[in-house]
């Protein structure tokens, strides 16, 4: 009983993703597996994946509208396209975001640094891409915040992104940064990506054309997921 091997997904170029052990980011030292991962040929479980488009609430795309009042901070629109590495749009895919408030504090019980919480900002949102892979949400620009990784360590302002794509192999969790952040140089998470060109893919661009007059600035963040193999993956590794 056999079914054809499905066409798999191409692997990321060397240096595109961070190595799991990245000693400058101290939390990796006890969490990165010590054994090399076993290469798995893509079969049905890997080329399929959850297609989650339901359960989006009416305020999920606007993080400034989830409470009675408006949050403090610079109102921004974040927009972009989800594509694969062949430039094809990834339609109807769930994009989840979460972030700190304008003061750099997360509305989370374990974030205890002394910056103010904002009663009008929870910091979580969800959108689904349209047929052309476009997404857009409204939020406030998150602040930078200190963390204990090294002396006087600060995370550059960022928004966390979670993407599913169309297959288990395309799953991606990343962070979107803002252009020209002076904190990039000292941030081991941003710099964990070995390839400097790949690192630039995490930085949004200011998009004057997408700003909303007398309302919000705009940042564009296009996201590139893995593209498909042209022919079924025939490497004998198992």
């Amino acid at each position: 009983m056999t079914i054809p091997h499905p066409t798999g997904y191409r692997r990321a170029p060397e240096g595109n993703h961070p190595p799991l052990l990245s000693e400058a980011y101290k939390s990796t030292v006890l969490r990165a597996p010590s054994q090399a991962p076993v290469v798995l040929r893509h079969r049905l479980t890997e080329v399929t994946g959850p297609l989650l488009t339901g359960d989006i609430g009416p305020k999920d795309h606007d993080l400034t509208a989830q409470h009675d009042g408006e949050p403090i901070g610079q109102r921004i629109v974040v927009l972009g396209r989800v594509l694969d590495s062949d430039g094809r749009a990834v339609p109807d895919t769930l994009v989840e975001v979460w972030q700190a408030n304008a003061a750099g504090r997360y509305a989370h019980a374990r974030d205890t640094w002394p910056a103010p919480l904002d009663p009008n900002f929870s910091g979580g949102g969800r959108v689904v891409t349209d047929a052309q892979g476009n997404y857009s949400f409204t939020t406030i620009k998150p602040g930078a915040y200190p963390w204990g990784n090294h002396d006087n360590a600060w995370r550059p302002a960022h928004i966390h992104f979670s993407l599913f794509g169309r297959s288990f192999t395309q799953r991606l969790v990343t962070q979107m940064y803002f252009p020209d952040d002076p904190l990039f140089g000292q941030d081991p998470i941003f710099n964990s990506v070995p390839d400097p060109a790949a690192r630039q893919r995490m930085i949004s661009t200011f998009d004057l054309g997408a700003t909303r007059s007398e309302w919000a600035l705009a940042y564009r963040f296009d996201i590139v997921l893995r593209g498909r193999e042209q022919t079924p993956f025939e490497d004998p590794h198992e």
Binding site: S22, T28, L30, A32, H42, P50, T174, M202
Partner: protein, 182 residues
């Protein structure tokens, strides 16, 4: 078109603001006949619980079909979500409630694909759950068969009572779970 992808970054410690759902751990509704509770603990290289992680699972339905257009057997429309997610608690514990997937018909034993996300993981790590009552299928499975027996054992859940399985995930060190490059 450049081949460069958007790089992965850690989910960080506050992932619950964006990634947790009520009942995310219910791959099938409570009370589903034949449902199994799969529970485990996520630990680090010191054996300490990882209390800020997230487990996600993806699997076929009890007939071995995916509700996805890339399944050539066209299970689309079955409504089987196949997806579970559960944040770890203060003791590193996670659980899902699901059914054992049926055979895919490609020589693999029934399995569930697993993503692990956590602070300190700059990229997700991927593993698989196999089932202890599938000895013959497991023996013929190409992935399990490629591993030394003690390594393969990290991928097979353990019986934990009626309707319950135990599947611990050890990120590093003694009996480190086998992780997969996909």
């Amino acid at each position: 078109m450049s081949e460069l992808l958007t790089p992965s970054q850690t989910v960080g410690p506050f992932l619950s603001l964006g990634l947790t759902w009520p009942e995310g751990h219910l791959v099938v509704p409570l009370g589903t006949p034949g449902a199994t509770l799969i529970a485990g603990v996520l630990t680090d290289g010191a054996g300490a619980p990882v209390s800020d992680g997230l487990i996600e699972t993806w699997q076929a339905d009890a007939d071995g079909r995916f509700d996805h257009p890339d399944d050539p057997r066209r299970a689309s429309g079955s409504g089987f979500r196949g997806f579970g997610r559960c944040a770890t608690d203060a003791e590193g514990r996670f659980e899902i409630i699901t059914v054992k997937p049926g055979p895919l018909g490609d020589g693999q034993a029934p399995h569930i694909d697993v993503t692990v996300l956590a602070r300190g993981l700059l990229d997700r790590v991927v593993t698989r759950i196999y089932f202890p009552d599938e000895a013959a299928a497991n023996a013929a499975d190409p992935l399990l068969g490629s591993l030394r027996p003690e390594r393969a054992a990290t991928l097979v859940a353990q019986e934990a009572g009626q309707g319950k399985l135990r599947f611990d995930i050890r990120l590093q060190g003694d009996r480190e779970t086998v992780f997969l490059s996909i």
